[in-house]
């Protein structure tokens, strides 16, 4: 059944949505939108590395994104620059370096649009394995660190005081972020991965009153976005990433009506 490129894309997208749902909630709660963007931009370097060394794209993106995260943490400790400036510095310089390196690799034909915005034709059976096995691992690890990560998101000092080791949870979460970018880059494209993380979770925030329900709505929102987006992409021959994100945006707009209602009820 995986012979059909569209089925492959659908199965890949559904796998990605299951993982971006819960991770996206943490991206919103911990205000990491721009951090996610930085890691995603640096993914281009990972992709070029994969092409030059004929290596698996997901693994090489994962390695490069993790390295950029580590460099960021070091820069935060060693310089007096504000966090957003450092993020911008790393995001744009790694994107620029990636594009310059591509310029040198004239012997390889690059589908830049596909890299930036996702390409459903590019999803192979190997990619499906990486998405589903990698995704399951990410969710498993997230489940294990959920308590300390969530507690420190609410209040760092409470978590630290009551012995939950929030620093370790934060470090592991950073690695999970690099991992989700690595496995979803082919589907959504590196410029739009953060959108896949944030928009369904933002929609979920409008509908939910507890952290658990927000995670569930976020997953449902992601799944619907992928399914609607991919069918649109097939029908109108649009890039897969933008189609998925546009579907997510529409769901977000619909969720705004729910807020209005609850505010009316309060008054």
């Amino acid at each position: 059944m995986f012979d059909d490129f569209f089925i492959r894309a659908l199965v890949a997208g559904i796998g990605v949505a299951f993982v971006t749902g819960p991770l996206g909630c943490f991206v919103i709660w911990r205000r990491l939108s721009y951090f996610g963007d930085t890691l995603a931009h640096s993914a281009l370097l990972g992709v070029t590395l994969a092409f030059t060394m004929e290596f698996n794209i997901a693994i090489s993106v994962f390695v490069i994104s993790s390295m950029i995260a580590l460099i960021l943490i070091q820069l935060q400790k060693k310089t007096n620059l504000p966090g957003d400036a450092l993020l911008g510095l790393l995001a744009h310089s790694s994107l620029a370096v990636g594009l310059v390196v591509i310029g040198f690799l004239t012997f390889i034909r690059f589908d830049i649009m596909g890299l930036l915005f996702g390409d459903i034709l590019a999803v192979s059976v190997d990619d499906l394995l990486i998405i589903w096995i990698g995704g399951a691992l990410i969710l498993l690890v997230l489940k294990l660190i959920w308590k300390p990560l969530f507690a420190s998101t609410v209040n760092y000092e409470l978590a630290e005081a009551e012995g939950l080791n929030p620093d370790r949870a934060k470090a592991i979460f950073t690695i999970l972020m690099a991992a989700i970018i690595a496995i979803s880059i082919k589907m959504v494209g590196l410029l739009l991965i953060t959108g896949m993380l944030i928009i369904p979770a933002a929609m979920a925030r409008n509908l939910s009153s507890s952290p658990q329900s927000m995670v569930i709505y976020s997953i449902i929102g992601g799944l619907l976005s992928v399914i609607i987006g991919l069918f649109t992409s097939l029908e109108f021959n649009t890039s897969s990433g933008p189609s998925i994100i546009t579907a997510a945006l529409l769901l977000f707009i619909l969720s705004l009506f729910k807020i209005k209602q609850s505010i009316k009820l309060k008054n």
Partner: protein
């Protein structure tokens, strides 16, 4: 059981320096099971910092902290919660430990906020939130409770009730309590040991000892000293508005 086994946390000459400025220096104290240790001192004297040192929140400290338990309940002085999080009181109760429904209900009832269980945390008033914070800290039945001004913003009658509750918890669970409070009246009646801070330990001992101490008098004034010592005698009389003494 020897005294040493009763020790829950011990600070040895502990201090914290931030940007070349000492927040607090040379603090030695210990909290034992079933005892209430109260930190008093003016604003900026390092009370909250000392509590955080005891909790192990700061990593680079001077001196040392020995913590003998991991079952800790903490009520911070300031807590800024980001309201991008959908969080009900019930979710907040289970923040650091999974508890069953009965335990949560019991703790919320003790601090008088059981009716707020399904409310969004962001919709609570300051006093209500403070009661929820205290309920959360006691619900996990900790060995060590660190309470940084636990009744701030709570109404007057509630304040007295909550202090009584704190004393009761210390007796029933035989947990040690490190308490920070500005309210000398209420606190002193129940405290076993007072540590008076002013960037360093200015004096410490039983409430009576501290009240007699000259440094304490210099810091808080003669009146405060009388407040402390008042609790050393039994209240067998009341003072009328005219200043006369009336036997009970």
């Amino acid at each position: 059981m020897s005294t040493d086994q009763n020790i829950l946390v011990k600070l040895n000459d502990a201090g914290l320096q931030l940007n070349n400025k000492w927040l607090v220096k040379g603090v030695s104290l210990q909290v034992e099971k079933g005892k209430i240790v109260t930190l008093i001192g003016p604003n900026g004297s390092g009370k909250s910092t000392t509590a955080k040192i005891a909790l192990g929140i700061y990593k680079k400290i001077d001196g040392s902290v020995e913590k003998y338990t991991n079952k800790v309940g903490y009520v911070p002085q300031k807590i800024s919660i980001d309201w991008t999080l959908p969080l009900r009181v019930n979710d907040f109760m289970m923040l650091t430990e999974s508890l069953n429904k009965e335990t949560i209900d019991e703790a919320l009832s003790l601090t008088g906020v059981i009716h707020l269980k399904d409310k969004n945390l962001g919709d609570l008033s300051g006093g209500e939130f403070q009661r929820v914070l205290l309920a959360r800290a006691i619900s996990k039945k900790p060995d060590l409770l660190v309470l940084d001004e636990p009744v701030q913003g709570v109404d007057f009658t509630g304040e007295i009730a909550l202090y009584e509750l704190i004393k009761k918890i210390s007796d029933e669970l035989s947990c040690g309590i490190l308490l920070i409070s500005h309210d000398l009246h209420t606190v002193m009646s129940a405290t076993d040991h007072v540590v008076c801070l002013n960037g360093h330990v200015c004096c410490s001992g039983s409430p009576m000892d501290v009240a007699k101490n000259n440094e304490y008098k210099a810091l808080f004034g003669e009146q405060a000293s009388q407040i402390l010592s008042r609790y050393q005698h039994k209240h067998d009389h009341i003072h009328t508005d005219e200043g006369e003494i009336k036997k009970n």
